[in-house]
Amino acid sequence: MTAYFGRRYTLSASHRLHADALSADENRAAYGKCNNPHGHGHNYVIEVLTRGAVDPETGMAIDLVKLDEAVRTKVLDRFDHVNLNLDPLFVERVPTTENLCKVVFGILENALPKGRLESVRVEETENNFFQCWEVEDDFVALERAIA
């Protein structure tokens, strides 16, 4: 039987919302106080939902140790306590939480066995969150190109 297993992780990071294609005034209009040149930060919650057949021997849909390992090495080690704008994936991509959600989905889709990632939800604050079930971008190719 297919079941879904979810796990919530937290990371703290800073960002500034600023699009190079827009003028200073347009950036202030679009992003408001999130355009502050010195940036600001959030305690993000990354909720990872995986899917899999429940193993009759263990009663489990996914190996939690391997999931934790993938999230820790690929996502938390990379984005926790950093300035998101300085990450290569956010050089040409504004680090909105929509884009952070897509980036995390793309990274984990490649890190987990094929077909096991159902969705990624990122909570920026207690009052707003974003969820993504698929991404068009090939993040493996993107990272290779950046490197």
Binding site: A3, T58, G59
Partner: protein
């Protein structure tokens, strides 16, 4: 289509153990969850039904009725119980969060039949605020 979710909580103890395995393998795979004396959690159960609101009442289902069904079918059997020792379905299945979600679905699906045009959509079980499992009735 509107989804409606009712949340309920129960507290229960459990342990993870596969009788077909050696003690060493159980301890290796399940870690601290293999302690045969058990441990416990405050579980949160989320029951989601989907349907069109009734044109007269405006309800997808009557929440009080749904609450009573959840209490009768699930909480009466699970709350303040040892899942391995006192709940029949966990004599054969290990009471992982995944299996609890599947078992709660099996208990609720027949009882929710009288909900008319609404149908059971999803069961989510939180073992802790950070860990949860979901079952959507898939084979």
């Amino acid at each position: 289509m509107v989804e409606l979710t009712r949340r309920a909580t129960f507290s229960a103890s459990h342990f993870y153990w596969n009788d077909a395995w050696t003690a060493e393998k159980n301890e290796h795979v399940f870690g601290r969850c293999a302690n045969r004396n058990g441990h416990g959690h405050n579980y949160t159960l989320e029951v989601t039904v989907a349907g069109e609101p009734d044109p007269v009442t405006g309800f997808v289902v009557d929440l009080k009725w749904l609450k009573d069904v959840i209490e009768r079918e699930v909480l009466a059997a699970y709350d303040h119980r040892h899942l391995n020792l006192e709940v029949p379905e966990f004599k054969s299945a290990i009471p992982t969060t995944e299996n609890i979600a599947i078992a709660a679905w099996k208990r609720l699906a027949p009882a929710l039949g009288p909900a008319g045009h609404a149908r059971l959509k999803r069961i989510r079980v939180y073992e802790t605020p950070e860990i949860f499992a979901e079952y959507r009735g898939e084979a």
